[in-house]
């Protein structure tokens, strides 16, 4: 049926498969570095040390798994919401190739130590330029498809898609400005506190424009698709959209509370972070209210379970985040394990659960088959949920314990614990985290197997039909 419409679904298949490959790399490296923190002997210098692998973990996760699957679903969703085939399938094929070249180059150059140190903007300038080319190709294709659309009204998902395209472009270009020294070495164009402020404007809005607006676009499309009932409120979606993309850009400096950047920038960041609860929770409520009369589907429909748990973690994430952005609480937990606990609730919980649902839904559609095993998908769900909760909860406890120890004082005002005395207490939590990561990885293995069997089953069926 899809082929009759002339949709470019082969490209969707390509991006889904490759994003899963890079997602597996991200989790494998993540599990490895979680063990390295607990067992330093597992560092194998020079290439396989924590310092070089951690950027590979974050880049493979955000750009390989995240952006890769967003590209798949932006192409999938845009064609269907506009009832228009992709503007240029040829350009999209170039995009798929370039995407894999860029991510592979990123992994290799980072392992070699070609690294600009700014978080999520580590890639050296030649690779960064390829990322820009990739994004322009992608954006032009999506925007042109929307311009030439056959459906006049643009659904909420398309707004989030458009905002993502422009948001990522602005952020990436500004923060990656550099002074090249050679092909493999460059320095940031900004210095000191300025560089820090630009970086965290980028860093936090990468969370907005990569880890929030794309999964929201996907959530708003796939929740009604899987439940069979429309989204609760279009108007709430409108208000939430504009206030979200307005407020997010003010909040970067909450990563720099108590650091030497102007106080008023920090205070604005703190205020807007708290205000962000409103648009974030508007999306959460829009999801929940869309389930009115449909809650039985949490039991009957495995896709709904992924999506609703995903939006629930989004809701918790957007309460925890603003609380961390308050000066007093930041003073306590900043620089501790609390923060990785927070981040992984967003990435493993919110973003990945929504992406899993979208992949489970889309793969049978584009391969014209049925999902191989729903019980396996349910097993994947529970392993992902358990692994992520073990990870996050152990890190929250570790963060609070270390913070309390770091702040403990003697009656004479001196500090009660040295840094090392607080660090050695963290080992049991690090073991817990590594175990949580292994459980998540096991879930991922069942997911990959399930999708693999679904795809091969679909191909076999197509071959049988042709025969």
């Amino acid at each position: 049926m899809n082929q009759q419409e002339g949709y470019a679904d082969d490209i969707v298949k390509g991006f889904i498969i490759w994003s899963m490959v890079w997602g597996l790399v991200a989790v494998l490296v993540g599990v490895l570095i979680s063990f390295q923190i607990a067992f330093p002997q597992l560092n194998l210098p020079p290439y396989l040390t924590y310092g070089r692998l951690r950027p590979i973990h974050t880049n493979a996760g955000i750009f390989g798994w995240g952006i890769g699957s967003f590209m798949a679903f932006f192409i999938y969703i845009t064609q269907r919401l506009t009832r228009t085939p992709l503007w240029s399938p040829g350009l999209a094929r170039v995009q798929l190739w370039l995407f894999n070249v860029v991510i592979a180059l990123a992994a290799v150059t980072l392992a070699l130590g070609m690294n600009r140190s700014k978080e999520y903007a580590e890639l050296e300038w030649p690779v960064a330029i390829l990322v820009v080319v990739l994004w322009v190709i992608f954006s032009v294709n999506i925007v042109m498809t929307i311009v030439k659309r056959r459906e006049e009204q643009m659904y909420i998902s398309l707004w989030y898609i458009l905002a993502t395209l422009v948001g990522v472009a602005v952020l990436y270009l500004v923060n990656n400005a550099a002074i090249p020294v050679s092909l493999t070495k460059s320095y940031s164009a900004y210095a000191g506190a300025n560089d820090a402020n630009v970086q965290w404007w980028y860093g936090h809005n990468a969370v907005a424009m990569v880890l929030t607006t794309p999964p929201l676009a996907i959530f708003y499309y796939f929740l009604p698709k899987t439940t069979g009932v429309p989204i609760y409120s279009h108007r709430m979606g409108v208000i939430a959209f504009w206030s979200l993309i307005f407020m997010y850009l003010w909040t970067g400096a909450h990563h720099l509370l108590w650091a030497p950047v102007p106080d008023w920038v920090q205070t604005l960041a703190m205020g807007f972070s708290v205000m962000l609860i409103a648009p974030s929770w508007a999306a959460v409520f829009n999801g929940y209210f869309s389930m009115n009369g449909q809650w039985h589907q949490m039991r009957d429909n495995y896709l709904v379970k992924f999506l609703i748990f995903g939006i629930t973690f989004y809701g918790m994430q957007t309460l925890q985040g603003p609380s961390q952005a308050v000066r007093t609480f930041s003073a306590f937990i900043h620089f501790t394990d609390w923060v990785p606990g927070h981040v992984h609730m967003g990435t493993l919980g919110w973003v990945s659960l929504v992406l899993f649902a979208a992949i489970y839904y889309t793969v049978p559609k584009v391969y014209q088959t049925e999902i191989y095993s729903i019980p396996l998908a349910n097993l994947h769900f529970w392993l992902a949920l358990t692994g992520q909760l073990i990870f996050s909860i152990s890190m929250w406890i570790a963060g609070v314990q270390q913070a309390a120890m770091l702040n403990a004082t003697n009656p004479d005002g001196s500090l009660h614990y040295s840094f090392m005395e607080t660090l050695i207490e963290l080992y049991p939590y690090w073991h817990m985290r590594a175990a949580g990561g292994l459980i998540y990885l096991a879930g991922l293995a069942f997911f990959l197997y399930n999708i693999f069997k679904t795809i091969t089953g679909g191909k076999a069926r197509a071959a049988a039909q042709r025969a």
Binding site: R54, A193, L423
Partner: protein, 288 residues
């Protein structure tokens, strides 16, 4: 809502919406942060050797575990020293403040330990800090690649002399790293001296108390033996076998350190009571 039917206008409006917060919180601060009033005259650019060390710090991703900002909070300033000022980072491209302390902050590590301590620690962290989870960086003993050094100094507009470039030959990456670490945080005068003096009368509460000797010895092995030897024979630091000084003086040295002699201060990490236990152990060894 006609805007949802006009994608190009929608795109422009979304861009404008994104740019408001961007201009206020990212573009405007360039004015304030670059305010000449915040400049610090004593802050100097990196030398060629220090810059190469900094680039190795970046290459190895040290910023993934070590921060370089001391916040104006008791738990930071008592542990690491004077809080960080924006003027101190004027030559940092990129900044290296970090976001997670899997290891301690290093903004003020310069001058805290002697070079030899850093060399031993980088090659084998657990020999100096038991139960540390830092990777071993023995491989940094390879020769320093200086082919780009001049271009780097020019790109950053840092002053240098040909003599400084010539001095780089024969240096290892580890030498450069140590040179960088020893520069960190030393651009402003901030080190407290004579901290022990503010503690009032210095009388050893454990004098001749043999019960504290096992703990004193344990603390010595944890904190002191890496430089002064398991049997007090001396290595990086001098031998302590014949420590013929009054208890109060020994306490002052351990508690406040000797900045000129590269003896670190242990007051912050040991506290008063445990410092006295170390002193009692050291003196008991002398009397034997």
């Amino acid at each position: 809502m006609t805007i949802e039917k006009k994608p190009i206008i929608f795109l422009l409006l979304a861009t404008a919406t994104i740019l408001v917060g961007t201009v206020v919180t990212m573009v405007l601060p360039f004015r304030w942060i670059n305010d000449p009033k915040l400049a610090i005259a004593s802050v100097k650019p990196y030398t060629p050797l220090q810059l190469e060390g900094r680039d190795i710090y970046i290459r190895e991703g040290c910023n993934n575990c070590h921060t370089q900002t001391v916040r104006p909070l008791l738990s930071d300033t008592e542990r690491y020293g004077e809080y960080s000022k924006s003027g101190e980072f004027a030559y940092d491209q990129p900044f290296l403040w970090g976001s997670r302390r899997n290891g301690p902050d290093v903004a003020r590590i310069g001058g805290k330990y002697p070079d030899a301590w850093h060399v031993k620690h980088m090659k084998d962290p657990r020999s100096m800090v038991p139960r540390s989870n830092m990777p071993a960086y023995k491989f940094l003993e390879q020769p320093l690649d200086t082919s780009l050094t001049e271009r780097k100094m020019k790109a950053l507009n840092f002053p240098y002399t040909q003599a400084q470039i010539a001095e780089l030959s024969g240096k290892t990456e580890l030498d450069a790293m140590v040179a960088y670490l020893q520069k960190l945080g030393n651009d402003i005068p901030w080190r407290k001296t004579g901290k022990a003096e503010v503690l009032g009368e210095l009388k050893n509460p454990f004098q001749d108390n043999a019960a504290v000797l096992p703990e004193g010895k344990k603390l010595y092995l944890e904190h002191c033996a890496q430089c002064h030897g398991k049997d007090l024979e001396g290595e990086v630091g001098p031998s302590l076998k014949d420590l013929d000084k009054p208890d109060a003086v020994v306490f002052g040295i351990v508690y406040s350190g000797i900045p000129a002699g590269s003896m670190p201060a242990f007051g912050d990490s040991l506290g008063k009571e445990r410092t006295w236990k170390v002193v009692t152990f050291l003196k008991s060894e002398h009397r034997r």
